[in-house]
Each structure stands twice: as structure tokens, then as C-alpha cells.
Amino acid sequence: MTAAEHIPILSVTGLEIEFAGGLRAVRGVDFSVRQGEVLGLVGESGCGKSVTCLSLLGLLPANGRVVEGSAMFDGQDLLSLDEKRLNRVRGRQIAYISQNSTQALNPILTIGRQIAETMMTHQGLDLSEARRRAVELLDRVGVPQPSKRLRAFPHQFSGGMNQRVMIAMALACDPAIVIADEPTTALDVTIQAQILELLAEIARERGTSVVMITHDLGIVAEMADRVAVMYAGRLVESGEVTDVFHNPRHPYTRGLLASRPRIDRRIETLTTIEGQVPSLREMPPGCPFSPRCEGAEPRCANMPGHTELDRGHRYACWNPEPAA
């Protein structure tokens, strides 16, 4: 890795997100995104990984709000920008790819219009120039017959093709960061492989950083340079992918890795994490994982701070797993 790749271009600190009724969905989350890297943000449903990213672009649903924290990007705090300033970041410097592409595209606008309008908004291109660029983009993301497909509507495409369109749309203004929220969850596994390959390739080619939100540890292992593991609104462990996967220190990370069957080897009996994720209403004091943790101690009733190891490997646990 070169020195440039270590420069964080986005630093999130102390992020707290609250939903109506005082429910804290995200608590004290810190992470950074470096130039040109793929960061995997991984966790089970409800862990807060999606709302974390949505909050950065001011896209939280109406009943959610950021109560604390900062997200420094390009010399400004994203969390304190007004709508007008945010609009200059959205789609231009930070782009967002959501899951279920077919529903994420407007059914009554042509593919071409939806790609072109991002460039018209941010780069001041006129329609014909933007359309010409849209053809190039569609061609780059592997949509066959791009100039013809420009006039097509999302319902005439498969889910995989629509996800390619979403990628073209996200890359239209050459953003610094692409946030991809479970981009392949609704797709078949062979199509998923195509989309992941495409995303990795284009990001590498353009030096774009990617935040990949996923529940699939396999996708993280194959795509990401670094990983941040979330559980019940907290960041429990983060670091370079090899460190976290080969030497997980937080019991949740270890449990998660062990509880997933492997395609590449035979497993006699899966290790399981007993119990279930606590709901936001019944969050235990201290470490949220303690009720399910075999190594829980009385002091786990207080939230542990982050312990930092080599190469930025961090975990939040009083009683970590032994180093491998």
C-alpha cells in the first residue's frame, strides 16, 4: 500500500443516531474510510450498519436523527451541513447504491434520463452531452446495446441489469466514495459475482473508495481491505480484513465467523451463538453482546472502550478472545 492509501478521506467519530421514542440505533460509532480502499461494514439486521451510512448523506428516515458525532469529509462535517450543501456532496462526491435496484429506480423515467440527470445537476452538462456520457457509462458497466437501452425503463431490465445501471449512475460524477448498501442481496449468486467483480474493478480503475454494507462475511473477505463489525448499534471490532478474520478478538466476530457454513470445506457441527440480538427497547447496560457471550463477566455491565492493536486492529471487549 502506498502512503496515499492511508489518508482517511472520511472520518466518522462518536456517531449516535436516535429513532422516535428515544431508541438509540447507533451508539458511539467511529470509523474512517481511506482513499481507494474497500471498507466492509458488516453485521446482522438491525445492527445499525445501514442507518450509519444513510446518516452521512442526510438520508435518515423522517423518524430518525443524528444526536451526536461528526463525519469529516473534504474539510467539512457532513452531519452539520444544510440540505443545499449536502446536495453538492450527494451523488457528486459520495454516491449511494442501494439494494433491490429495481425498486430503487424510478419506474416512469428512462434509464438514460436517470443516469443523465446526475451529471446535469452536478456538472452542468446539457441533456445531449449527458446522454452521450450515459451511453459510455452503460457500456462500461456491461449493459449490452447501451445507446438503445438508454430509452428503456427499469421494469424492462432484470435485477442484475438494473444494479449495473445503479452502478453507472453512482459513478457518473466520479465520486470519491461509493456507499453500496447490500448491493447484491436480491440477486442470484452467479449475478452477484458479476456485480461484485464489476464494482471492484471500476473502483480500482478510478481510485474510488467503497463502503460495502453487507451481512455476508464472504463478500467482505473477498472484496474488502478493511472491515468494521457492528452489533446492536455498536462497532465491536475493526481492522484489516486479514487481521479481523484470522485473529478475531471480539467474541461476536469469532462467533459470527464460526456460525456460517463454508463452501470450501466440510464442517461437522457449526458453532452457534445462542440467543438472539436484543431489541432496541431491551438493550442491556454495557456491552450489548454480554447476554449471549460465554466469556461475560460482571464488568461487562459497563461498556468497554476500544483496545487498539497493530495496523489499526481495534476491538471493544473486556475479555477478548486469545490472540491466534
Partner: protein, 306 residues
Amino acid sequence: MTRYLSIKLARALLTMLLVVSFAFVVLRLAGDPVRTMMPEDVSPKVIEHYRQLWGLDRPLWEQYLRYIGSALRGDFGVSFQDNRGVVSLIAERLPATLRLGIPAYLLAVVFGTTMGIVAALRRNSATDRGMMTIAVFGYAMPNFFLGIVLILIFSVWLRILPSSGDTRSSSIILPMITLATAHAAAIARFARSAMLEILNEPYMRTARAKGLSAMVRNLRHALPNALVPIVTIMGLKFGHLVAGAIVIETVFAWPGVGRLLIQSVDTRDLAVVQALVLMVAASMITANFLVDVFYGLIDPRVRTQK
């Protein structure tokens, strides 16, 4: 699109045929028209004369074919009250109804959609709550009651507007407002919920994530999608135009087809009633067809299916 439209058109024509046939059946079920119309003590000879004159002595299927044939030619018989052709009778009254109904409808559509959309965009604000309170009020209040209240205020108390008839250019104001209110309220409530639903769609989040301005998002991304359900209710309301006029025309003594209908029912002038019922049905079917055409224009999923 051609295929889609031809299917919809065929369906509209078929519905119309069914309505016309239904009217024929009901008319026959109502009993012998001659006897219903004639005084009780009229001689059988006279009755027989009229039966032959109107073709009622022919077999039923032949009567039906004749009836359909004359309906196609636009001949709906003769009013027995004043012996004039039903069509010319209606044609005389229809302009008054349209002169009242069309502006009222446009008023309702413009106000209703605007209110609904503004309320949705400012959800849970004072504007939203205020507008929806007015809408519920307007929707819940019966037409005739609102009409009477308006007459009391503007004609009896303030004495600035005429209370009834069609004598001055300002005569139209009160009935028009009355007629528009209920429609506008219904459209507003519907438009608000349609727009809210669209604003929650995932593609609206995509539009925000792209950095599009609120104006572009609302006008280009949300509104056309919300128009699909909104136009549905606009079509429905268009169909109700004539039906809705009945009460208003009575309250304000407006010389339109609504009052003609009331009078004809009163005097059992079946030919007129039948023609008016068919006219109401036809306007509803036409409105429905126009709504389908609009769906095809706005929604590519409709346009490209089948």
C-alpha cells in the same frame, strides 16, 4: 400502446352496451309503459293503438334490436309530458349543467390536487393539519347543507350574491363553490395519501442520494408517479359531475339536467329518465376510458405490457 388502448376501448363499448341493455330490461320489468302513462279509464282501443305505434306488440327480441338501433341513431324517444324529442329536451338543459359543472370540476381538481400535494410535502406541519381539517370538513358536510349555509350568508345576510336561478352572471358563484367543495376535499385527501406513498418509495431516496434539488425530486420524480392514483379519482369525480348536479341544481334552482331529472322522475316521464341515466352512465364510462388512456401515457409499465 395500440393494443392496450384497443382493449380498453372495446371494454368501454361493451360496458356501454351492457348498460343500455340493462336499461331496456329494467324498463320492461317496470310494466307495460302504455298502461303506466295512460289514465286508468282509457279505452283498450287507445292502448292498443299506442302499443302498435310504439312497437310494443312485437316480439321482445325485435323490440330490443329496434331499441338498440334507435339508441345508436341517438333517438331516445319522446317525452310524453310535452311530446318533444328527449334528445332535444336534454340538449336544451345540458349547457346549463356543463356551464356550472365544468368550472366547478376544474376548480375542484386544481384546488384539491394542489392542497393534497402541498400537505404531503409538508407532512405533519401546521399547513398539513390545517388543510386536512378543511378537507375533512368539506368532505363530511352534505352538499345541500353547504348550499343553504352559503345562501344564508351571501344572499340573505350580506345580500351580495343571488340565491337562485340563472339570471345574472354572478348567479353561478354559489352553486359552483358548493359543487366544487366536496369534490376538492375528496381529491385533496386522496392526493395527499397518494403523494405520501410515493415519497416513501425507495426510488425517492435514490433521487435524494443523487443530490437532486427538492424541486426536481418532487416535480419530476414524485408527482408523475403520484398522478396515476390521483387521476383515477379525478376520473371518478368527472363521472359524478352530472349525478352531483342533481342536488345542487335543486337547491339553487339551476335550470340544468339535474332538475330535469327530478321533474321527470316526479312525472314518471320514463323516456327522459332513461336517457338521463344512460347519459350519466356514458359520462362515467368515458371518464374511465380517459383515465385508462392517461395511465398509458404516463406509466411505461402499462404502455409496454401485453
